[in-house]
């Protein structure tokens, strides 16, 4: 187990290096970061000056190593856009995004798993059909559309919820619903298909024959078996919620890491992009690790390997 952990940590470091170098190079491939930093009313001469002042004219590898040595000394640098230390900037943004992401994932799981279990237990029944409809609406409805529908209803018409901002806990209700609904269909559908396969398996027949209660059969045996792909998917979904909540963040004016990443790329804010990439890659490593560990706990066959 220790060996395994060491290997994972080594992999994480390798990954962070790999991803951060690629993203550093991509910024230069995608356009001229000096022009973006100089701003939309800047002249070619302004951009040239910025290029020299910030060392964008040096070879990419030299710049990257310079950045990396800063990181190793614990210095993430200063945002070229906000002129503020990147570390403090990120802390606030990540807190916001993580909060929203966790709420949304919990909401999605709480709705999707029971619904998926029911749909899988009684396939082609009315519950199954309704669950499918519910999921399909979630998939096909663009999130900004749903978000604005909620705003129109709850903020403009009824004025019971704030349309934007993060001033109070009420501000998080609508964004959580939108994001959670967005993450729900995949989890629900996978639970359903997993349940259907699991319930056809021999050990379920055995369990039923042994006279176990239906609830135990469903949740202890079938769901446990269907859980592996669900957990893997949830970890991917959670990542998606963090990085992919840009639209929701911008509609509800929640200033999180997703929209910061998006905007920083457009603004050529290299230190901020790099720090975000670094955080995201470490975060995914932890996430996939957690998912694997959870799977191992649930599935004895995986533990033995």
């Amino acid at each position: 187990m220790l060996n395994y952990a060491v290997r994972r940590i080594f992999m994480a470091c390798l990954l962070a290096l790999f991803v951060s170098f690629i993203s550093y190079s991509l910024i230069f491939a995608a356009g001229d970061p000096a022009a973006a930093v100089a701003g939309e009313a800047s002249t070619a001469a302004d951009a040239e000056r910025i290029r020299q002042l910030y060392g964008f004219d040096q070879p990419i590898l030299v710049q990257y190593l310079h950045w990396l040595s800063g990181v190793l000394r614990g210095d993430l640098g200063t945002s070229l856009y906000f002129d503020q230390p990147v570390a403090t900037l990120l802390l606030g943004r990540f807190a916001m995004t993580a909060q929203l992401g966790i709420f949304a994932l919990i909401l999605a799981l709480v709705i999707a798993v029971p619904l998926g279990v029911a749909a899988g237990r009684w396939p082609n029944s009315i519950i199954d059909r309704l669950a499918l409809l519910f999921a399909v609406i979630g998939q096909a409805m663009p999130s900004f559309w749903f978000a604005l529908l909620l705003i129109i209803l709850f903020s403009v018409k009824l004025s019971i919820l704030p349309a934007s901002g993060t001033a109070s806990w009420q501000s998080f209700i609508m964004p959580t619903i939108v994001l959670g609904y967005f993450a729900m269909p995949a989890i629900m559908r996978l639970t359903r298909s997993g349940m259907i396969s699991a319930l056809e398996a021999d050990y379920i027949r055995t369990a039923r024959a042994m006279g176990l209660s239906e609830a135990r059969v469903l949740f202890d045996y079938a769901l446990r078996n269907a859980a592996l792909p669900i957990i893997s998917l949830s970890s991917a979904q959670f990542g998606f919620l963090l990085a992919g909540s840009v639209v929701v963040e911008s509609v509800f004016a929640i200033h999180g890491a997703g929209s910061l990443a998006w905007e920083s790329i457009a603004r050529g804010d290299l230190p901020t992009i790099q720090a975000l990439v670094l955080c995201f890659s470490l975060f995914y490593v932890v996430l996939t690790l957690l998912a694997d560990m959870l799977n191992a706990m649930l599935d004895p066959r995986m533990r033995s390997k």
């Binding site: 991509l26 910024i27 399909v136 559908r189 893997s232 998917l233 995201f280 890659s281």
Partner: protein, 298 residues
């Protein structure tokens, strides 16, 4: 289903085909899904015959004509016109071509990548798994927007670029789900049995693993198709969507976004079509899985 398979085992091949056809026809939601899917394909293939106008024909004085059921609408443009005065119905009909190709193309690209990586990782485990997990995590951590921007800056934007971008963007869910399922299957009795019988790795993957992955594969593929068609709209905000005058449902939704508060029909109409297609795809996927289930056949 066990009865059906027992029946087909005893009967001749003709009877087996007949019974499968019967099963297909009897499956109501499969038929509905098929109907929707085929309708969209017909729209796409026969667009030039069906569309009342050229989908690119602009008429600036007739911008934002509302659809027929709203005040100010009329039968010349049953679904109204967009911000350039183009007939919305014609763009919807032609848009089926683009949206279908994006959905199917992306699902195929991401499905192939994701299944390959997922099966390798799950089947071989160990070092192969480590490498695969490295690639998957790298993909998740890589800011895709950045990758896509670089691709467009270097290669320009086109329908193919959109499909490839989305394909490379969405394979991770395939990979993770397939990997987890393969790990389960790897240790199942029938794989062990095949191994004992001396079957080669390719035979085991081809005959034992892949057919049993079909369930999850179909589920994820139907999800990804919908996701791709919607994401395509999001990409167009970055100039990474299909190039400007091409009609696609995702793009129409994104163009209608600006006016959602005041002219919600602009987004509702393509939204409804997209919804129907996603529903159809899902019903089709579920139904296919039901009638082709390997558990049913074995």
């Amino acid at each position: 289903m066990t009865e059906a398979s027992a029946f087909s085992a005893e009967s001749s091949k003709v009877n087996a085909t007949k019974s499968r056809l019967f099963r297909w026809l009897r499956h109501g939601s499969l038929m509905l899904g098929l109907l929707i899917f085929v309708t969209v394909i017909v729209m796409a293939v026969f667009a030039p015959l069906l569309a009342p106008y050229d989908p690119y024909l602009q008429s600036l004085p007739a911008r934002f004509t509302p659809p027929v059921w709203l005040p100010g609408g009329g039968w010349e443009h049953p679904l109204g016109t967009d911000q350039l005065g183009r007939d919305y119905l014609s763009r919807i009909i032609y848009g089926a071509q683009i949206s279908l190709s994006i959905g199917v193309g992306t699902a195929i690209v991401s499905g192939i990548i994701g299944t390959f990586i997922g099966v390798c990782a799950g089947y071989f485990g160990g070092k192969v798994d480590s490498v695969a997990m490295f690639v998957i995590t790298a993909r998740l951590a890589m800011p895709v927007i950045l990758v896509a921007l670089a691709v467009v800056a270097l290669a320009g934007s086109s329908l193919t670029v959109v499909m490839l971008t989305l394909g490379f963007l969405l394979w991770d869910r395939f990979a993770l789900v397939i990997r987890a399922t393969t790990i389960q299957l790897r240790s199942s009795e029938f794989v062990t049995a095949a191994e004992l019988q001396g079957a080669s790795v390719l035979q085991i993957i081809g005959h034992e693993i892949l057919p049993n992955l079909l369930n999850n594969l179909i589920v994820v593929a139907t999800l990804e198709m919908a996701q791709a068609m919607i994401l395509e709209a999001a990409l167009s905000f970055l100039g990474l969507g299909v190039p400007a005058p091409l009609p696609s449902w995702g793009l129409m939704i994104s163009e209608g976004k600006a006016s959602i508060l005041f002219e919600p029909w602009l987004i509702t109409i393509p939204g409804v079509f997209l919804f129907a297609l996603v529903l159809g795809t899902n019903l089709l996927g579920d139904g296919l899985r039901d009638v082709m289930s390997p558990h049913g056949r074995n």
